[in-house]
Structure formats: C-alpha cells, structure tokens
Symmetry: C2
Subunit: 342 residues, 2 copies
C-alpha cells in the first residue's frame, strides 16, 4: 500500500532534511533576525495548516515569535490582505499549487515582507512567489493522504526554531528524532488491535493540549480522509468550554499527552472522562496517562519535538481503522492529491 510505505519513509525523510536543509534553514533564520521580525504569518491548507499550528507553538514558546495563521480568503476572496510590517510570511504546501496560499505570499511580497515557501515542489508557483524556498525533499508523495510530507514540514519548522535560537542542545535533540520515529513504528500491531475493535465507531473527539494540539488536528483529519470517521479535534481547554457535553458512556475519545507542562491538565481531563466511562485511547509516554484508557506507548522525546514522533502511531491508527472498516486507503472518496481552492 502506497500510504503505508510512505509512512515508513518518515524516519529517512527527517534524517535527510537534517543534512540537506541546513543551509536553506539558516539563510531564512538569518533573514528573520536581520529584518527584526516580530510576527510570523503562516498560510496553509489541510495537513499543512496543522504543521502551521505546530509552528505557532514551537516559534511562540521557544523563540517568542507571535505566529498568526492566515485567513487566506482575506486576500484571495476579499482582495486585500492585512498590512504586514516586521512580518515574515510562510507558505506551506506539499504541491505548492493552492491558489489561495500562493495569493497570500504574493500579496506579502508586494508589501515588502520577508517571504518563504516550504514545499515539496521547488518549481511550483508558491516557490516562485517567495524570496526563500525551503524544500521538503520528501520524494514524490503518491498517496492522497499526506504522511511523510507532514513530518517533513514540522521537522523543518523545528529546524527553523533551532536555528533561530542557536541553541546547541536543540540540534542534538533533533538528531535523535529519526531513531525515535523508527521506534514509534514498533507499536503497529497493538494499534491495529485497538483499531479493529473500534471499526464500527463513526464519530469521536480527539484531544490534546499545547504542542500536541497540532497532532490532534492532523490525527482527526487522517481519520476523516481515510476511515470516514467524523473526528472532532479539540484543545483540552476548549473541549471543556462546551463540547464535553457530547460525552456519555462509550463515547469514543482519542488523546495525545506526553511529558511536559501540559501533561497534568490532560491527565486531569482524561481522569474525568474515564470517570464518565468514555472509550479512551491514549498515546503517551506517561504511565499515569497510559493507565487511564487503552494506552499506546510512544518513545519519550523532549516535548517540543514530541509532535514529530506522536503523529506516527496516530497515522497508523487511522490507516488500520480504515482497513478494519473495509475501506481503500489509497483512494479516499471525493478527494484528489492536489486541491486547488481559491
């Protein structure tokens, strides 16, 4: 299966980027410093928009950069993007072809902002629109559901954060990621078992907090694309401001919670949901969190890099749930690889 084999390439893709992307990343980080950037605006759609959410947390917490996620329609539909001063504008797109994302970059460059494209296609329109191009170098992605390009996108954002901080320890931590990605694949049989017994579920909530909010969003998208499960991703905080009303005994909840400042709040919420007898699947490196539901152990990784590792079992879960539901993971209904929205 193409999707499963591309998922297996993830460790190699990140390993490659840690060597080949260093110069592109450094040049962009130098420009961010030279131009005294204080706002990073990211334009993206679908899976790449979830990479942008990771960017919001990693650049916000480690580099104290304010990150805004663009509403591309402000440029592409309403025809006048917000004023950009001291801003860096990043477009993220596997294909580099979505017209609305390209329009945001073009508008930003016209306004004199620093621009960069993160894309798998260095000859795309998006790349042409940007001053800096940072290649995903993930090789062709043929499966409709993106897997390895998501990994490449968030790995590059982590590398940008590391280059901006100039912190030697972060570079060492990045080097350990490919090994953790290989280790993360070892839970596949356990994941397949958890998916098999949930084959009849057609809705669920997906919860996380902080860095893993991106993981929850991307996990939910994979569940929709591949398994046709209406998966609703929520920050654990926002979930408690209303949607928690959905929970009754047996209500399916998927959660990601790894060691770090967000863990205590997640454990508290998961304890409450376990008390309400929700059906919990928990991806974690914390024994306390794992014990609250059907636990899937993921390799311990510094929190800022844990979204790179935790997405692997999440992708595997969506893949195996689709198989358990008798669906074709290579040809999801209604969608094609490249979506051209305006």
């Amino acid at each position: 299966m193409t999707m499963r084999s591309e998922l297996g390439e993830e460790a190699g893709v990140v390993e490659g980027l840690l060597d080949t992307a260093v110069d592109q990343v450094r040049r962009f980080a130098d420009a961010v410093r030279d131009r005294d950037v204080d706002l990073v605006l990211i334009a993206a759609r679908g899976t790449s928009d979830h990479a942008a959410i990771y960017g919001q947390y990693v650049l916000g917490s480690r580099n104290r950069l304010q990150v805004a996620l663009a509403a591309p329609s402000l440029v592409s539909v309403y025809g006048g993007g917000p004023r950009l001063r001291n801003a860096a504008v990043l477009g993220i797109s596997q294909s580099g072809r979505s017209p609305d994302v390209v329009a945001v970059l073009q508008d930003a460059r016209r306004q004199g902002a620093l621009t960069a494209a993160i894309t798998n296609e260095p000859s795309s329109e998006l790349a042409a629109a940007a001053e800096h191009v940072i290649e995903l170098a993930a090789g062709p992605e043929r499966a409709v559901a993106a897997t390895k390009t998501y990994l490449a996108e968030i790995a590059l954002l982590a590398m940008i954060s590391s280059a901006l901080s100039g912190d030697a320890e972060s570079a060492v931590q990045l080097r350990a990621v490919p090994g953790a990605l290989r280790e993360a694949l070892l839970v596949e049989d356990a994941i397949a078992g958890l998916a098999a017994v949930r084959a009849t579920q057609d809705r669920c909530a997906v919860l996380a907090r902080g860095f893993h909010y991106a993981t929850a969003r991307e996990w939910a998208l994979k569940l929709k694309e591949l398994a046709y499960v209406l998966a609703d991703p929520y920050s654990a905080a926002d979930f408690q401001h209303g949607p928690i009303a959905l929970v009754q005994p047996g209500f399916p909840v998927l959660a990601v919670a790894t060691a770090g400042p967000a863990l205590d709040g997640m454990v508290e919420l998961l304890g409450r949901l376990a008390g309400a007898r929700a059906d919990l699947v928990v991806l974690s490196d914390s024994p306390e969190a794992l014990a609250l539901g059907a636990g899937v152990q993921i390799p311990a990784t510094p929190e800022w890099l844990s979204p790179l590792v935790a997405i692997v079992p999440a992708q595997l879960f969506a893949y195996h749930l689709a198989l358990a539901r008798g669906l074709d993971t290579e040809a999801p209904r209604n969608i094609t690889k490249v979506t051209l929205t305006r």
Copy 2:
C-alpha cells in the same frame, strides 16, 4: 425556557450597545490609532473564540489589521508569551474569569501592549487586567449555552471596526441590525420543522467561507452543547482538502452562505454536495444557494454584518434539534456556565 428567552433578547441587546457602548468603543479605537497598532491578538475560549474569528475577518478586511488568535497555553502552560510590539491585545469572555485568558492579558500589559477586555462582568479579573474595558451590557446570561452574549461580542467588534474606519455608511448599516435580528426570528417554525425531521442525526459538517466561518464554528458548538450532535465546522476551502471524503448520500451538511465575494465558491461547493446527495440545510439570502437544499431565508444584510443576523436561525436550529431529540436545553450534560481552564 431561559435559553430561548435570552435568544429573543438579542435585538434589544444590540440596540442597547449601539447607544451605550459608543464611548468605550471610541476610546479604544482612538488608542489603536494613536499607538500605531498593526497586530491585534485576541484571547478567548469557546463561544468567545468564535467572536474572535469574526474579529479576524472584520478587522482584517475592513481595517487591514492583522489579527492573531492567541494560543493561551503559551502563556498559561508554557509560561512565556510571544513578544508583543505595536500590538493590541483583546480578551473576550462573558464571565471575565477564565484564568488562561486573564493570563494572556496580564502578560501583554506587563509587556506594555495596549489591552482591552470585552466582558459582561466589568468587575471581573479580566476587566481588572486590561487598560480598556468594553462592556457587553447583555444583562445576566443564565442559560449554559451562550446566545445573546455572542451577539453582543460580535456587535462590539463590528462597532470597533466601524469606529476605526470612521466610515459614516458603516454606522448607518449597524443601525439596521436590530430590525434584521427581529426579522430573523420569523423563520422559527420553518426551522423547527427542519430540525424535527433530523432528530436522529448524530453527526454533521457545518460549512461556510470568509465572514461566516465564525457562524459555522459557533453553530457547530451550539449543536454539540445542546443537541449532542458531533458537528464539525469547516471553511469551505479546508473542507475540500480532505474532510469532504466523509460525504456520501444522506450525509448531513449545514451551510451558511450570504451575498458577497464568498458566495460563488459556496454555491459551487454546495452544488457538488447536492450532486453527491448530501442532506443539505442552507441558511442564505441568495435564491441560488437556497435552492440547493432545504433553504432557510435570512434577512439580507451587508456581508460584514451578516454574521450578526445569520447566527439567529443557527441558534434556533440547535435549540429545536435539542427539543426534537428530547434533551434539556437548560442543563447540558457535563458543563457549567463558567469554565475555569488554565
């Protein structure tokens, strides 16, 4: 029923604000101009976060201000908010009590940013944390599901946008909103009928583009809180980047599409979904859009103000769907009026 009667107070609340809030709004708008603000950061949770999304579109398209939605955990969990220069930071909260939203405002004020609280409780911690206080003046909201305070929040954001632009026509357009809100209530019987025949649905997608993305998000939240329907809100563009795989004959889709630059794209997508025999409910002022599914006519309003009007039938739909499902709209499961997340 408290919720239904508070929903009926919406026109009066907006009418009141157009008189009483003028000075508070003008003082804040003057400060935004004086301080040469180019970024507005909004911190909010739940319903108020959807008001923030409206703020992103109205201030972005009409005032060319870049709006970022805060990730409150960057301050409250990770302990160091992004640097804020030339920024105005807005906290929006009915109760003014959510610790994570308060923390963002406190951090911003320490950094010297312009701060404002939009709240129904002028003696709350949020109000105390901010330099400017703009009162919702909606009267006590007793129902757990917020209705009139959402209206008050987005009405104030529209007033701020109007004050910033100094455009006389926009003030005239605002004056027409209370009348349109009263007219919007007239579709209640039709709405109740549409809800009654959908009482067994437990999942749906809620779609919109541009200004109405906020409407879609808030509609979906009301459906979850009141009717326990897993409603997944999407920008029409993002929906096509994956989640559209969910759609099969009979799949429930709710949509909002009113006249303006976003309408053509919505009509195109709804036509495609009608072709796939999705079960469509469409709130619109456009005959073309209304004809594509079960249509609910909403009063024609300039697009930038249409989210104030379109949310009324959306709230009514969630309310009547809850009744049709035999649920207690006054006591949703698991939630309380004030949620204190950190």
